[in-house]
Amino acid sequence: MIRRTALAYALATGALALLTVFAFALGRFPISALELAQLVANKLFGAAYDIAPSAETVVLQVRGPRILAALLVGAALAAAGTAYQGMFRNPLVSPDILGVSAGAALGAVLGIFFSQSALVIQLGAFAGGLAAVGLVYAVGSNVRRHDPILSLILAGIVLGTLLGAMIALLKYLADPYNQLPAITYWLLGSLAAVSPGDLALAAPFALAGLVPLYLLRWRMNLLSLSDDEARALGVPVARLRIAVVCAATLMTAAAVAISGIIGWVGLLIPHAARMLIGPEFSRLLPLSMVLGAAFLLAVDTLARTVAPIEIPPGVLTALIGTPFFLWLFVTARRAWQ
């Protein structure tokens, strides 16, 4: 078991490192390996270099932040998915189960509808995501007579549907020439426009969400027991659940605010990680994050390099993710639980 875990970690981090190097070397703007090496030497050791300023801008301001954003979004979605799948004791749960994506989408669509700037659209998405989950939690936890997990999920589905209807209404009313395409592209998700500023805005929130998950990593395993059993072991189930929901929501909302809706990662990656090393949360969380980061980086690198126009990452995550997942599903010896 230990050896298997170590192997999985070694392979995943190795793949991530390799992918990151590749991602820096690939792109639509022609930058040679030599130029890249010179730039790295200059930034690390202050060595003299001779490359075009526009190439430097591309690496430091455009390609670099985008790579970091792919890593951040991939890791955040995978971590949130891992936490939720553990908490809800269900492998089919994804980070948007409590409406964070639908809320973020409504926030962003409102921003586009009222012709706001890119920054306001992002803040709208972030706030919308938090507000939606807050609402779902308030509704779900006020239903006394039912299983709390079930009430939460039901509240999430119902509010998600309502938010979806509001988005549909805004799309219908939007100016079909200018706003509708912008809305459509936001909902498709993309990292094409990520700037260093976006990253600086999203990273603190994603980290703030990660810290509680990391601190609670041992207790998370106890959430897979029934509430009564967990309580008998002295776990404050309700408070733990709030902490997990807050953490996962913060991470997902921060990610979605800069990337738009990117599906599959939060559902598929935790599942894949679990098939590789089993459900023990403290080991699962880091591996999920590494795999999520690597997967989204690979997808986004393809999205930005294969054609002059961008390919929506949501399309690629499904195209690449589905066969990969099926392969894992068929070959993995380890089942869920």
Partner: protein
Amino acid sequence: MTRAVLAALLLAAAPALAQREMLDAAGRYVVVPAKVERVYAAGPPASILVYAINPDKLLGWTRALRADEAAFFPDKYARLPELGRLTGRGNTANVEVLLKARPDLVVDVGATAAVFASLADRVQHQTGVPYLLLDGRFEAIPDTLRALGHALGDAAAAERLAEYCERALREVAARVAQVPPEKRPRAYYGRGPQGLQTALGGSINAQVMEFLGARNVAGAARGGLAVVSLEQVLAWDPEVIFTNDPNFYEHVWRDARWGALAAVRAKRVHLAPHLPFGWFDFPPGPNRIIGLYWAGKILYPELFPEDLRAKTAEFYKLFHHRAPSAAQLDQLLGEPGVLPR
């Protein structure tokens, strides 16, 4: 082809009987009443053209005009009701609203593909109101104006507008033809709040650029709108950037990443005027003709010596039936390409 259609139209008109049979741009025979007083426009380009020919016959706009748009029209037309759109993206019309407006004729101007022809047939069958589908392509505007003028019984007014458009298109094409291919600027059209939606080759959004002979950096790929990465824009390094988004236009000067582009450093980013109708791509109506002069002056200043204010005033008087005030001209033309307004 369009000439043949026109000839057919004129022939059909010769005996001034109670009704006329017209061949529309989709090849449909439509029986048009002798007197057309009330016209329902199925989409924005149709409403713009009907309004330009005879504003008193337009029953309403597809969407109620916003205050900033309404300021460009005489009050009684600015207040025309919102009737929704039947056709194209985001159709919002209700057939009962159409019937309640009691139109003599429904007009759509745009693509004439089978899907629109079948929509026209269906609505015509359902409502009993003749439905004319006319060609909305840029180059077809003069002939479409004439056909519409004929249907409305306002051939003289339509002819004046058609001649204006024809002359403008011919004049601009002749000027552009003098420019050798290597002298034609490489241009990028950045849409959306991030400026990263662009118009691919052959798309309706790139028509003004293409008509002006600008080399669309995204033109190698054919299609409609698409998202590109900033890195790709940097790799293209366009000489001129057009945009339709005020937020992007404000932002572009302050973003170090866009600042790596020669076009941004040379202040060659230009926000297309959009009131009351966009000058660059949407809605795809005659509004793009004045956009040709605006963008032409940006691309080839020495070939477009005319005063854009006078040109704009003339165009607006002709097509919107109200000459813009000096303040409105300032609002429209500002100082294109010079730092944030």
